[in-house]
Symmetry: D3
């Protein structure tokens, strides 16, 4: 059976942490689908098109990595695309508690799904999309936190 | 002196976790008042009437369990109804930090009150009302997370 | 049914934290048995006789509080004395993770048992028996950490 | 080189915890600037003028403590006023995870800055500005949580 | 490239938690080597031969699962057997902090290695080998905590 | 008043994490005394002489940093040398819980003492002396974890 993982998130925007997790997971799975969640209730900083464009730019040379968007429950999307794994990065123990709850709920809703965790590298631990947005809002330069060479302009 | 506990929350909606904590606490207290907090600033998913109805349905056979609603500070409500205990369930260490702060503030405001904690059973650890609402919003089926036989329709 | 709780520990020696938890739990239970665990593998600082003597001294005026010693599994002792509750204090989130594991194991081994947690008051959070022993070993004065008026001499 | 620390926050309003951290840090720094962040997106409970007035009242007798306000990134403000330290209080392990992320981001953006942490005293651990606002909103009396003698009226 | 994972531990003895993690990881890797660490400094409860025998019994029907023993640094063993993954189960946030440190040290010592984490199912969260040994030492019955049908006699 | 800090530990051996914390703290204090605790009950890997020699080598060019050894309670040593600060590094939230307890006990025993925390840099978070000893015991190379240029031979 093909090993298909989804890497769900809002990627508003993509960070170096996200980039690193996916690239390290490439050898583990046959296909990785980066699934950009569309949440109608929460206004995003970047449009869904831009968020997808950033991801496509960074993973252009990775044939097993695809970019998609979805709405609704993550496990429903997994069923639809035939994914048997959810890939997640773990940064801190606060992260862990949160991710554990989500993974346990997902497994209750869809027992065939397995969530696989990789550790965020120490140098990316403090980075998340909300930090990047905060720096942007205040007119700062977030280039140390987003993938090298990516332009958010 | 009668042992009267309140079990405060928004119960939007009641989960299997809530149900289990209250039923296990029944032998410990003479009366348990499930106190549904009305927060004028936060819009609830279910109306206060529905939330109370769900609770009344599930605890109909428990004569020492009552359902009530309240506004204002929890300790003021305790004084009003003569409760000397606040009952809470603990799920995770993130929970613990949060509950500890609230309990310490309540004890400062009303030193006679004692917060009593029971552990959420492992199988209910990942469940909370916000998970149930999320599943409902996305058209999923939350029946594994709410009390058996309860219809939210 | 009588509400009987055991408060298990090694009490080597009793601290202000222990004293405070038991005194606050007195109104909640019909009887509280402070059960001093005898661990043949771990050498204690104070003899079992002294540890019991300290406890008897401090709780002399509390008719519902008894002192006992036990060996073996805590749940077996609970069955023997007819206890339906285990009383524990919670200090920190590290504590919580540890206590949760023990409580879950106990509930698996003996489903009728319920572990009830009270919060250690903030001023006693840093105190434990090992701190007291450490101070004693280095010739310091632990009187701020043990019950007022207790002499360890 | 002068040791200049900023103590950033929204101070909406000042609590006993804030007061205690700054007073204990006074001997460590040549100057401490309490920097009230103005967040255009989040409505505050007290106006920026009131929040500054409370701080000026409490620290009137501390010549090395100044009050200022700022917008934008905290590290940019540090550069502007020549601060080489950020002072923070730590209360709980949840706090710690959060503060560590912010401090790591700040150090990435401005490697010369050092964040210095003091521990919140146990008796102030449960206090934060949001607790005070909550009590005020419900018509309670927050005087145990704000600096002695301070009137919020 | 073949995906080879080692699952290191002392397995003194194997628990239901260990069993469950390995069985869930089988589809993810081409080979899983359960590597029983021999620690000359720590006396084990069961002999290395017994610990291996328990593992061989439980995984007899899993052709991609092998049992081996090793001494020395885990990463050296990975190099020797050509493993590119270390498989670990995560139970609690205390676990997480501990596992993160080990995984980060391993990645420093051998950058090609990737640690992959699965979540322990909620019902096995409280179980570890030391709990089983404790029950055995006190003459209790650990059968709920070890793989079904396994006899430790 | 002179700002004198002690940095207590067993330094068995010194790590890059220790080195980094002290060097970053140099501008904050007039003097820093690295105080090597001698624990008669715990056998160290390196002799007290070697541990001191490593520290003296690494801090030879730092005139405000001294190396000393001590036995007994840390706060008694502080009184003896006139230190008003204890310097500590914080790595993880598990660390934090532990350090907070020690700092609170120290403040109870000696209210004039203030514990000042700096954050361990992310790249040193997983490093501690026990990791270094473990690598040495297994014949590995710990040079990435100890100060650059230090020879433990």
């Amino acid at each position: 059976m093909q090993k298909i993982a989804i890497f769900p998130g809002s990627f508003d925007p993509l960070t170096r942490g996200h980039e690193n997790i996916v690239k390290r997971a490439v050898p583990l799975f046959d296909r990785i689908i980066i699934a950009v969640g569309q949440n109608s209730e929460k206004k995003s900083y970047f449009s869904i098109e831009k968020r997808i464009f950033f991801l496509e730019t960074i993973f252009a040379d990775y044939p097993s990595v695809e970019i998609d968007k979805y709405t609704g429950l993550t496990v429903e999307y997994c069923k639809k695309v035939g994914a048997n794994y959810i890939l997640r990065g773990l940064r801190t123990s606060a992260d862990f508690e949160f991710e554990r709850s989500i993974a346990q709920v997902n497994k209750k809703l869809y027992p065939e799904i397995e969530t696989v965790f990789l550790l965020t590298l120490p140098e990316y631990t403090a980075i998340n999309s909300s930090v990047v947005r905060d720096i942007l809002r205040h007119g700062g330069d977030p280039s140390l936190f987003i993938p090298e060479g990516l332009s958010l302009g």
